[in-house]
């Protein structure tokens, strides 16, 4: 018996409207209504369909502006598709950036509770994991100091330590690997492998192609909002690399 997919997208499209001159004030809006102006629209995603079985680690690759982040935001519930639909099962947590909602003037402790609750942890769950977070972040002596007194490295460690405690069935990761030093990146990867092995479904948006092949079993390649290829990570990455390194004789 086939299990219910963790994420399924059916003919998902997303349009964005770009006015030529956006009215930023009521005054401009009133004037703009008098002199009507045109607007452009573009489709960030066109007719995307796929199913991700529970426990799969899937990479989303493509050039900048190909619709990767839009896709992740739609799966994460931040945007709604213009047409089509996405169904998810279980708790979906988007990890689009580290340290979301961090307040420089609040203590490390307050920021832990604030940030963790945005990732769906209850107060009780945070209290239970609090010591682990502080230990992992190596900030024990500074938890009651305001976050603005932390070094960049400390703040980043704290942000990451909180994310290691996220409870998710589907985790959406966007380029988080790109920040921080090498050691930090390795830590992140180790943690993601752990999550993958414990059965969490993971969407990974990344430009780090060797890493994609190493971590993910499957990849989808987006090009100008359309699904260009969907298959085993190694073959999609190969095709992608070949496509962009091939000399473009035809166009000249």
């Amino acid at each position: 018996m086939a299990r219910e997919p963790a994420v399924s997208a059916e003919n998902v499209s997303r349009r964005f409207v770009v006015p030529h001159h956006r009215a930023y004030t009521v005054k401009q809006a009133v004037l703009g209504a008098i002199r009507r102006r045109g607007r452009d629209e573009f489709w960030a995603l066109r007719d995307i369909s796929f199913e991700v079985p529970a426990g799969q680690m899937l990479a989303v690759i493509g050039r900048n502006g190909s619709g990767k982040s839009t896709l992740l935001r739609i799966v994460g519930g931040i945007y709604r598709p213009t047409s089509g639909r996405v169904r998810t099962s279980g708790r979906v947590v988007g990890l689009l950036e580290l340290g979301i909602g961090f307040q420089p003037d609040l203590s490390g402790r307050d920021n832990i509770y604030l940030n963790a609750s945005l990732f769906g942890l209850t107060r009780r769950q945070v209290s239970e994991r609090y010591d682990q977070i502080v230990e992992f972040a190596e900030i024990a002596d500074f938890v009651d100091a305001p976050l603005r007194t932390y070094s960049t490295g400390m703040a980043a460690r704290l942000a990451f330590a909180i994310t290691t405690q996220i409870q998710a069935d589907v985790l959406l990761v966007d380029e988080v690997l790109a920040v921080g030093d090498r050691q930090f990146t390795l830590k992140c990867i180790k943690h993601m492998k752990k999550l993958r092995n414990s059965g969490v479904t993971i969407f990974l948006v990344s430009h780090d192609l060797p890493r994609v092949t190493e971590l993910c079993s499957r990849a989808i390649w987006l090009e100008q909002g359309a699904l260009r290829m969907d298959g085993p990570a190694a073959s999609v990455v190969n095709a992608y690399v070949r496509h962009y390194s091939a000399p473009r004789l035809a166009t000249s």
Binding site: F16, A23, Y24, T25, V26, K27, A29, R73, G76, G77, I78, Y79, R80, V92, G94, L96, E97, I100, G101, Q103, D105, L106, D110, Y113, L114, S117, L118, F119, L121, T122, R123
Partner: protein, 269 residues
């Protein structure tokens, strides 16, 4: 129904946001609260000097009358002005993480309500200090008026909050509107003066009491002797009814507008 269940699931986000707002406002200290009361108290003192000693309103208990309407008004105007930017100031957050968007205006309402309750404590201490007799019988009416005020406030917050994501001058317009609105409501002067004046034709007086805030502020003042609202104004209950109806209408309209645009907040900013 689904909306309420989702809000319940995210209640910790709301609690943490409210705590954050209060901590930032008070800078985590008792003195911080005193500090935050400085501006409203300075205004109270100014009004007392002007209207009691210079203009000689000749009103008994003027300062008590002033404060019992002024503090609820501050709660109202501050919540709506903060609410005007509750989405616009958090677009970065809305782009990066999902949580029910209603959490943001609820946070603004919640932190302003807590602040108001602290301010009411100050008022109670002042009441005790000047030994004013309190009409306890009017507390339920004041509580009912507060419920109406909260509904009205939240509806306005949703409406102006949704609009100001798209138009940056909404807050600017609001500041001017609230400045005038305050003086067209019974706060710095007694209602009696409006009723007695011969300068206004009847329809202007009717319009004055159709201001949804007027019956509410009169209700709060009802706890002060000689200011029982229905004794001042025979049609008081009808005007209170209008105020409640307007509050509910504004809440519904605000919610519909919010629902219509909530999915654009993360896109526009």
């Amino acid at each position: 129904m689904g909306t309420l269940r989702e809000l319940w699931q995210y209640r910790d986000v709301l609690v943490n946001f409210v705590r954050r707002d209060l901590k930032l406002r008070y800078k985590s200290s008792v003195l911080g609260f005193v500090w935050s009361m400085l501006l409203p108290l300075a205004q109270v003192v100014t009004f007392v000097i002007i209207f009691k000693y210079i203009m000689r309103l000749g009103e008994e208990n003027y300062s008590v009358l002033l404060m019992s309407a002024f503090f609820p008004w501050m709660f109202f105007s501050q919540a709506v002005l903060d609410g005007a930017v509750s989405f616009a100031a958090n677009v970065g957050l809305l782009k990066r993480v999902y949580f029910p968007r209603l959490i943001l205006p609820l946070t603004t309402l919640g932190s302003n309500l807590v602040h108001f309750l602290f301010a009411m404590l100050v008022l109670c201490i002042y009441f005790a200090y000047v030994r004013v007799t309190v009409n306890w019988g009017y507390l339920p009416l004041a509580a009912l008026a507060m419920v109406i005020q909260v509904a009205f406030t939240f509806g306005l917050m949703l409406f102006v909050g949704s609009l100001s994501v798209f138009y940056s001058d909404v807050k600017f317009l609001l500041t001017a509107v609230f400045q005038m609105w305050m003086f067209f409501s019974p706060i710095v002067y007694p209602v009696r003066k409006v009723l007695e004046t011969g300068m206004f034709p009847q329809w202007v007086k009717t319009a004055y009491f159709l201001n949804p805030m007027t019956p509410l502020l009169m209700a709060y003042r009802g706890v002060v002797p000689l200011n029982e609202p229905h004794k001042l104004l025979p049609q008081y209950w009808q005007f209170l009814g209008v105020s409640a109806a307007v509050a509910i209408a504004v809440l519904v309209i605000g919610y519909v507008v919010f629902r219509r645009y909530e999915w654009e907040f993360a896109v526009v900013g």
